[in-house]
């Protein structure tokens, strides 16, 4: 293994993903990039100032800081999960780059090491930025005294969580490889990781409650995520550092030895049988159903609904909403169909096919979740709400798919699309809440929004079609 080659490859990954990220929408503009960077710096400064002002009253001494750090370990682990999955998705979507690296004179171990280096940097950077205001506020309040608690609570926890996730990921990949399912590695591992993240998100509330309970009783309990702050409190800061170094070394060796022998190239589609071939809607339904990511969403939705159902929670029906996460791909999924010889369809018809196709696929796959309600009649009310939310979601995600076209299934575009849509809906929801708009008017406005979403989807589709035909041409020349 050559360190120089690993670094060259890791740099290549950095350059590729940075350029990919900067090639999305407004980020192509230098001014927009500068403004966004300035906004990010201003945001972090503002949050740090707010946190410092709050902590001024809340953190009189080390004991309270210790509680803050203990509680933040739950958040650090959650965000490590999220960033880990996001980076894995980025790699899955970049199979061209991975294929290219296979032509380079590097061994698989070197490629894996470069990937790990890149992943680790992304996780460290993201978690670092997310918890920067907290760290600055702690430093402002307590000075250098706060450093050990910050290092054990944020840095050590994030690094260990990342290494544990890597080993888990590799073990699942190895198991699949052993049973001849290496092409399903990404679907299965990502489904498991997503389900694990959702489960952890639910469990973290209990975790925080338990940690706070321990604090109120004047004791320090061990809750796995708070391993290093716990060790630091019980046996001192050098002991926690020694434990961290030992654990990191063991996990790094395990991660290196469990890394799959070959990089599993992602399989983007699964040949699931789709009935009624020959119907005009069939290609659209096949395009949506055969995406491997669709099955990740289905797997996560089912696991969540079953877990909630077993817990006796009527909210299990809401798990069906996870299926909507794939709606933003409805336009790009069928983009190759539009390139077929003889394919001519008006914008209105195209949008209708996208809406109906997505509605059919979502309804069929939500059916098993709704069947769970037959043995839990108290969940029927929730089921009706979920039905309406799914219908509305199908319409809105189709609009996002047209406004933010996820070319090459770009997860960055999808993320932007969802962020903008969620931001808009939450802002309007908050404004409507403050204005105390009467219920009937709200229903009327919701119905109007759906109609407008369809109208704008058709207009957007027309615009895309026109742009494709006219993009290169000078009118009237």
């Amino acid at each position: 293994m050559s360190t120089a080659r690993i670094l060259i490859l890791a740099r290549l990954f950095f350059r590729y993903f940075t350029r990919k990220a900067l090639s999305v929408g407004v980020l192509r503009c230098r001014l927009a990039r500068t403004l966004l960077s300035l906004s990010a710096v201003a945001g972090v400064t503002l949050l740090s100032a707010v946190a410092a002002s709050v902590f001024h009253d809340m953190i009189p001494g080390k004991r309270e800081l210790f509680l803050v750090m203990q509680v933040s370990t739950a958040g650090v682990v959650f965000w490590t999960f999220v960033v880990f999955i996001f980076v894995k998705i980025l790699f899955v979507k970049s199979d061209q780059l991975m294929r290219y690296t296979m032509l380079l004179p590097v061994s698989h171990r070197e490629r894996s090491a470069a990937l790990t280096l890149y992943e680790f940097s992304m996780v460290a950077l993201s978690v670092g930025v997310l918890f920067l205001p907290l760290a600055i506020a702690c430093l402002t309040r307590l000075g250098a005294e706060a450093i050990p608690a910050m290092v054990t609570g944020i840095f050590m926890t994030a690094v260990s969580a990342y290494l544990v996730l890597s080993v888990l990921h590799n073990l699942v990949a190895l198991a699949l490889e052993a049973f001849g399912g290496s092409r399903l590695v990404h679907i299965v591992t990502l489904s498991l990781m997503a389900a694990l993240t959702l489960w952890y998100n639910g469990a973290s509330l209990t975790l925080i409650r338990d940690i706070t309970g321990d604090y109120l009783q004047g004791s320090v309990g061990f809750h796995l995520v708070n391993l290093f702050p716990f060790l630091s409190e019980q046996a001192g800061w050098p002991m926690a550092a020694a434990a961290f170094l030992t654990l990191s070394a063991v996990l790094t060796i395990l991660a290196a030895f469990t890394s799959p022998r070959i990089f599993p190239l992602p399989r983007r589609f699964i040949r699931v049988p789709v009935p009624f071939a020959g119907r005009s809607l069939w290609p659209m339904v096949a395009a949506l159903t055969r995406r491997s990511e669709w099955w990740i969403a289905v797997g996560v939705a089912y696991v969540c609904s079953i877990l909630l159902w077993l817990e006796g929670d009527t909210a299990f029906a809401y798990s069906a909403l996870i299926l909507l996460s794939q709606g933003v791909y409805v336009h790009s999924a069928a983009s190759r169909l539009r390139l077929m010889p003889g394919y001519t369809r008006s914008a209105g018809k195209e949008v209708a096919y996208m809406l109906i196709g997505q509605a059919i696929v979502v309804a069929i796959h939500a059916l098993p979740i709704s069947l769970l309600a037959t043995v839990r009649p108290d969940a029927l009310d929730d089921l009706r709400t979920v039905g309406l939310a799914l219908l509305s979601g199908v319409i809105l995600t189709t609009l996002i798919a047209i406004v933010f076209v996820a070319e090459n299934d770009s997860p960055l575009v999808v993320f932007t699309g969802y962020a903008v849509c969620t931001g808009t809906l939450v802002s309007i929801g908050a404004m409507v809440g403050v204005l105390q708009v009467p219920g009937p008017w709200l229903w009327f406005a919701a119905a109007c929004t759906q109609v407008l979403a369809v109208v704008y989807s058709v207009a957007g589709m027309k615009q895309i079609m026109r742009w494709k035909r006219h993009e290169a041409a000078v009118p009237g020349s």
Binding site: A287, R469, E471
Partner: protein, 241 residues
Amino acid sequence: MPLTQLDVHDLGFTYRSAATAALSAVTFEVGPGEIVGLVGPNGSGKSTLIKLIFNLMERQRGAILVTGCDHRSEKARSSAIYLPSDNELPEFLTGREYLRVLAGLYGHDTRAAGWDVEARFSRFGMRGRCDHLIEDYSHGMQKKLLLSGAFLLQRQLTVIDETLNGIDLDAVEMCKAEFHDMRGRGQSVLLCSHDFSLLEEVADRVLVLRAGRLVANLEVCTELAGGGRLSHSVRAALGRG
């Protein structure tokens, strides 16, 4: 039957970013049962011309008739098929499903005689692969699938944009035989290729484009008479002789 399968008259086109026209005053015809080659250096306007014929870009000047109808009409659309140079196929379909969807788009009855996907795949050396996802096909196999679609649908006009590049020799031979059969049925082919030996074997005429202008319309038989080579004639037409 119309007198021409494709009639391009005074076609002009300028790209937004370009100072000069990509196509200017291009005029030619392709008759029934004719196989016409389209050659020219990279950037001479071949792909632009084909995209305009299939209404994939907005025409700016001139007229295009496909089987006697305006190229934007429904009848023109269903009479012609275009095989692009890049393999942008719906990879979530199997080969058989792709051909079925294609038949649906052209309103072609898949129960009609001659629609034998298995046999077509076997002839292309792809036996047993028609129920595999296109995602699993190699580059050459994807090209063969595109060609299979065109040969099964048997349109009046088939336009092939360098699709024959990258397929094996057996498949090229099979394509030559298909072109021969198509000529017999009165169907026409516009074949965009840099393979002069192929054009010498199958084409009746060769159109030469240079910087968006049609600079020569060569009769292949005439050019080959007396031991001449098509490549030499084309080079001469391009002013590089």
